[in-house]
């Protein structure tokens, strides 16, 4: 069930109404919201609810055992087993086919058989997100940041439908305290929620899907059909598309959570105004960045073990971060590229004084280059795209709506943050009834732009 669908438009108002009716009675509300979340998840494939349930039970068990363990060694062992279980599931469902195919190719070239069945395995939606949240919970318990939650609280935390499919990756210590206190029905961020849902719909359906349809998909599907001007525009177009697609999803997720009375962490903060790679990763998919930082980079040693180890840790973190996005060499290279960017910044940071606009210009264009790697369907396609940069033909996809959307998406992020936030706050301060009418008008206009095949899934649903 995608957010921008009729099914969800029927599902959510019912859940919202019952949720607020039950909110004063947490003993009834929690099973209800858990049931609603499982129904939401089952709509993508009912078999996978058993997987979600298994991850919930295993990690809750681990958290309780970690809390009760009397030695650090035992705690470490339990966490290792729990994290191994989560990563093992992720590995089987997400990476098995990829690695077995690479293995078969490598052995095949030596005339050997791979010895493992070459199978495709259906990827459960959202597995990358809920396994990371489960890991973050067990690790937080081990570090003493949170007490083990009750089983029902943990199950709600892991499966809460606004963030179940594609994040944001909410930390246990951000969500569980909210669950402990029943939400106050007289203090709900109704207008913010409604406004965010409307913003998200416009970003996703009007901007991201339009850019994908009219510019990005044609060029990335058949690079040979286009010359340098179209390939370059498609690269900038994809930068705008992926931002609007993912931040649009996040806006809707945060908005829905607000309407239900919960606050999620932010996931984006004008990423295209970054003046360096480190800055970019503090603004783009912020909840993944901090997960990688806290649960991978720092445990690896962070920057505490000398320059070379810092570089190594950065590279490991970013390569694995790239691989997290999908089982393909393009993602590995994209992670490597970002890792190299961070290493270069560490190595030369502060030694070369560049004006702010130049740092922005260089960073932005390098990030866009990275997106080409990310979006290319294969390394061969990436090579084809690069080779087309030397072919100068007349542009065929440079239309005013496409150009206007790219300029708008990037330009708005370059405005002083206060301006945008002030405008947003102003909209969010309107009366809920007015915003309800506004939301209906937005949905009506947004729906009119949807082609016959419907709204394409969010890009991050695949991850």
């Amino acid at each position: 069930m995608l957010f921008p669908t009729v099914q969800f438009a029927i599902f959510f108002p019912i859940v919202l109404a019952i949720s607020w009716w039950l909110m004063p009675k947490p003993k009834a509300w929690k099973p209800f919201i858990l049931f609603a979340s499982y129904v939401f998840y089952a709509s993508a494939g009912w078999r996978f609810i058993f997987l979600l349930a298994a991850v919930t039970v295993a990690n809750q068990l681990a958290a309780v055992m970690v809390h009760r363990a009397d030695t650090e060694r035992r705690r470490k062992l339990i966490v290792t087993i729990a994290v191994g279980f989560d990563l093992g599931l992720l590995g089987i469902f997400k990476y098995y086919s990829f690695f077995v195919q690479q293995w078969a190719d490598a052995l095949g070239s030596l005339g050997l058989s791979p010895g493992l069945p070459l199978l495709t395995i259906a990827l459960p939606v959202g597995i990358s997100f809920f396994t990371f949240q489960a890991i973050s919970y067990v690790v937080d318990v081990k570090r003493g940041h949170v007490e083990p939650a009750s089983s029902i609280d943990f199950a709600v935390y892991l499966s809460f439908f606004p963030h179940l499919i594609a994040g944001p990756i909410v930390r246990a210590r951000e969500f569980l305290p909210q669950l402990k206190r029943p939400r106050d029905p007289n203090r709900v961020a109704v207008s913010s929620g409604l406004a965010l849902v409307a913003f998200g719909l416009v970003k996703k359906v009007v901007i991201a899907d339009y850019l994908a349809r009219e510019l990005v998909e044609p060029v990335f599907a058949v690079p040979h059909a286009y010359g340098a001007p179209d390939v370059i525009l498609a690269a900038y177009g994809f930068a705008a598309e992926i931002y609007c697609d993912f931040s649009g999803y996040t806006d809707i997720a945060i908005g829905l959570a607000l309407l239900l009375g919960y606050v999620f962490p932010q996931n984006f903060r004008s990423p295209y105004r970054s003046t360096g790679f480190r800055d970019f990763w503090r603004r783009w998919h912020m909840t993944l960045s901090r997960f990688l930082r806290d649960d991978l980079y720092i445990p690896l040693g962070g920057n505490r073990k000398g320059r070379l180890m810092t570089y190594r840790n950065l590279m490991i973190t970013m390569v694995l971060g790239g691989l997290w996005h999908g089982a393909a060499w393009t993602f590995v290279l994209w992670g490597t590229f970002n890792g190299l960017g961070l290493v270069a910044e560490h190595a030369w940071g502060g030694r070369v004084a560049l004006p702010g606009w130049l740092r922005w210009f260089v960073t932005f264009n390098l990030i866009v280059f990275g997106w080409v790697l990310f979006r290319a369907q294969s390394l061969a396609d990436f090579g084809a795209l690069m080779s087309r940069l030397t072919v100068f033909t007349a542009p065929t996809l440079w239309t005013i709506p496409v150009l206007a959307m790219i300029v708008l998406v990037v330009g708005l992020q370059l405005l002083p943050p206060d301006w945008v936030e002030r405008l947003q706050v102003r909209i969010e301060s309107a009366r809920p009834l007015l915003l309800g009418v506004g939301l209906a008008v937005v949905i009506a206009f947004v729906a009119a732009t949807v082609p016959s095949q419907g709204v394409p899934p969010f890009i991050y649903f695949r991850f």
Binding site: V6, Q7, A9, I10, P13, A17, W20, S43, S97, Q101, G108, L118, L119, T120, A122, E174, R183, P185, N186, R187, V188, A189, V190, S192, G193, L194, Y210, R213, A221, V222, H224, A225, L258, L259, P265, Q266, R269, T275, R282, R283, R290, G356, W360, Q377, Q424, V425, E428, L433, L435, G436, V437, A440, I443, A444, F445, A448, T449, S452, Q453, G454
Partner: protein, 341 residues
């Protein structure tokens, strides 16, 4: 440009002086939005339900959509809303000729259809193949099965100067006309693009009940259903072949993993083969079954160029890049028998 504070992710709303309201106002606001949408777009809810696969989700959406449609049609708001937003519709206007003829009309014509020379492959008569002609325009179309085959064909043919039109219509089917009526769509494609060669790969979403000659709904997958399906396919093939000017390359479905879908795919394939019979020299069936799923048994991988290779996507329906690339080679061979490029 100021650096954002790193761990300050949770308080953006309170920092900005968030205005809070009563939950009841939120529920009322959402209810108002829902009522406005029912009044202005009620029939769309029903249409969305009709496009869904049978199941509880469809029943629920139709349960809301039917009364919404009834209410919306009593009031003038649907027309106003359509007039205000129709300019945003990205789809081409498909009004015009085409559409599927009623099976009853086809059956009632009475006359025995004449056999034409197009029903014979020259080779089976011992005749020489007609001379190949240059290919200028190729249309690759179908449902999601036609992706990424369309890209693979385009990658080969575009550098050789062929105009390749890629037109997948995801989520569509020949047995359902809710999203797209392939009878109308094929007529529109021919009229607007005049392709000389057409590659069609469709059927993954099929299996919907269709109206039979008696006016009753016929459920998949009886011989009656197969006959109605074949009638529709034949109409589309006839449109694409453009009175023998064009060649059509219609691909059968490789067996899907899911046994229920496999039943449908088997019937779809049988119907496609029957449908092409009047024009076998112009409508060529490219059978994917022996390539990917011999004996109609599903498999994820096969040997390609001496190496074990995954050829299916994880959904057990579609071909992956490697499978599609392999299939593209077969399709190009078939096209190469009629055209130079």
């Amino acid at each position: 440009m100021a650096e954002p504070r790193e761990d300050n992710y949770m308080n953006r709303f309170d920092r900005a002086g968030l205005r809070r309201f009563r939950a009841r106002e939120g529920v009322i606001a959402i209810a108002v939005a829902a009522i406005i949408l029912i009044l202005t777009a009620g029939p769309s809810i029903r249409k969305a339900g009709e496009e869904m696969n049978p199941g509880i989700g469809r029943d629920i959406v139709l349960g809301v959509g039917r009364p919404s449609t009834w209410v919306a049609r009593k009031l003038p708001f649907v027309g106003i809303s359509t007039a205000a937003t129709s300019w945003l519709n990205p789809e081409p206007n498909l009004s015009g000729p085409g559409g599927f003829a009623n099976p009853k009309t086809l059956a009632a014509s009475g006359a025995v259809p004449p056999v034409t020379p197009a029903a014979f492959e020259p080779a089976t008569l011992g005749e020489a193949e007609p001379a190949r002609v240059p290919l200028h325009t190729l249309l690759v179309t179908g449902d999601s099965m036609s992706e990424p085959l369309d890209n693979d064909l385009a990658e080969v043919l575009i550098p050789k100067g062929v105009h390749v039109i890629q037109e997948p219509h995801i989520g569509t089917g020949i047995s359902t006309t809710f999203v797209v009526n392939w009878g109308t769509l094929s007529a529109h494609q021919v009229k607007s693009d005049h392709p000389e060669a057409i590659v069609v790969f469709i059927g993954a979403n099929d299996g919907f009940p269709m109206t039979g000659p008696e006016g009753k709904e016929v459920a998949c997958c009886s011989s009656s259903w197969a006959a109605i399906y074949a009638d529709r396919v034949r109409q589309i093939m006839n449109t694409y072949r453009q009175d023998g000017v064009a060649h059509v390359y219609w691909l059968t479905l490789p067996a899907p993993r899911d046994p229920e879908r496999r039943k449908i795919a088997r019937v779809v394939n049988a119907a496609i083969t029957v449908a092409a019979q009047p024009w076998v020299s112009q409508v060529q069936i490219i059978d994917t079954v022996p390539i990917f799923t011999p004996g109609f048994e599903y498999r994820d991988s096969m040997t390609v160029k001496g190496k074990p290779t995954l050829v299916r996507q994880a959904d057990g329906i579609h071909l992956n890049e490697a499978g599609s690339s392999l299939l593209a080679g077969t399709v190009l061979q078939a096209i190469g028998r009629n055209y130079t490029y």
